[in-house]
Symmetry: C2
């Protein structure tokens, strides 16, 4: 709730009516809750929200774009860690994301990734979503750079993608069970580097 | 050619006849080349290889398992770098994999990942393939540990997954265009760590 949605990027720029937008998103969420992905279609959402299909398509260019917005709202419970320590922020981010997916939140996302492999609209929505997420989560590393604890010659968005990608491949192979120790080891590999002490350049 | 296939793990243990196995794999490859994924089915492969469907299913428990074997044979051109330097091996591995996918080799793999999101047989074949690939590629880091250039307290298979996962997410979002510099930066992030000099633990 209240968290900015990500669709403004993917909309074609038409002004949204906040009340209608909210009604559409709530209808979409209700359909997913009650009938799952099989029940989800722009047609069903339009009917339930008492909105026109053209209105929905004006604001969300594809079914995947609308699904991604609903998915993003469901992620409200996942924290955006800002503990003052990059290592701890990264552990909380990665553990939080994989935990959310493991507890059922991953079903929509994996279906969108699957759809994006054969549907250009879904691919476009997914690309846009991924870029906005990397920008957002890259803040963890940018804050570290500002504090002087993270190298300035690394690209935060590229490095954060290493972590989110790891979560993706675990989601897509149903291997989301990780221990806190494994998450810490992954974070340590990237924060401290895997090189032996003498090898640091 | 000649590289061991990965299916022995997924087969149910029945003895394979090398000549029939080769005929089936070649038929599968020819069908993919000529008709693409749409043309690919166990039935079509059986017909072309003059083999029985039960024979194929005995050796490959799912269409995805057979597809993964064909895919793996096509990857023969992708080098298994062993330059004596972990950093260079990792750069070559990541650049080689993404280049192979970019040049067309990724189409089968992304379709299998998509299928695995709704098909249990495909998921099982994919899991098995991923684990075997991480073991194989993890050798890069294990060799570094043996040479004393890589920390002994990191799990090679877990760390190598960071790199392959990155390639996955780029494949699945059609963002395989990376510069050599970006690949080197990703490798440096993990080898050297992203922490500023003073922060290394």
């Amino acid at each position: 709730m209240g968290k900015p949605t990500t669709t403004r990027r993917t909309s074609i720029g038409s002004q949204r009516n906040p009340a209608s937008e909210e009604a559409i998103l709530q209808a979409a969420q209700a359909i997913l809750l009650e009938g799952g992905l099989q029940a989800f279609s722009i047609e069903a959402v339009a009917k339930r929200a008492k909105a026109g299909k053209p209105t929905i398509y004006r604001w969300w260019p594809s079914k995947a774009a609308l699904l991604l917005d609903v998915y993003h709202r469901q992620k409200d419970g996942v924290p955006h860690p800002d503990t003052g320590d990059v290592r701890e922020d990264l552990v909380q981010f990665l553990a939080g994301l994989m935990g959310f997916w493991r507890d059922g939140g991953g079903a929509i996302f994996r279906s969108i990734i699957a759809e994006a492999q054969s549907d250009a609209g879904a691919l476009e929505a997914l690309q846009s979503y991924v870029l906005s997420r990397c920008l957002q989560t890259g803040e963890i590393l940018r804050r570290g750079q500002a504090r002087g604890t993270v190298r300035n010659d690394i690209d935060p968005d590229l490095v954060i993608e290493l972590f989110s990608s790891f979560a993706w491949s675990r989601l897509l192979t149903s291997r989301l069970e990780v221990t806190r120790q494994q998450v810490e080891q992954i974070v340590s590999a990237v924060v401290d580097g895997v090189a032996a002490e003498s090898q640091h350049q």
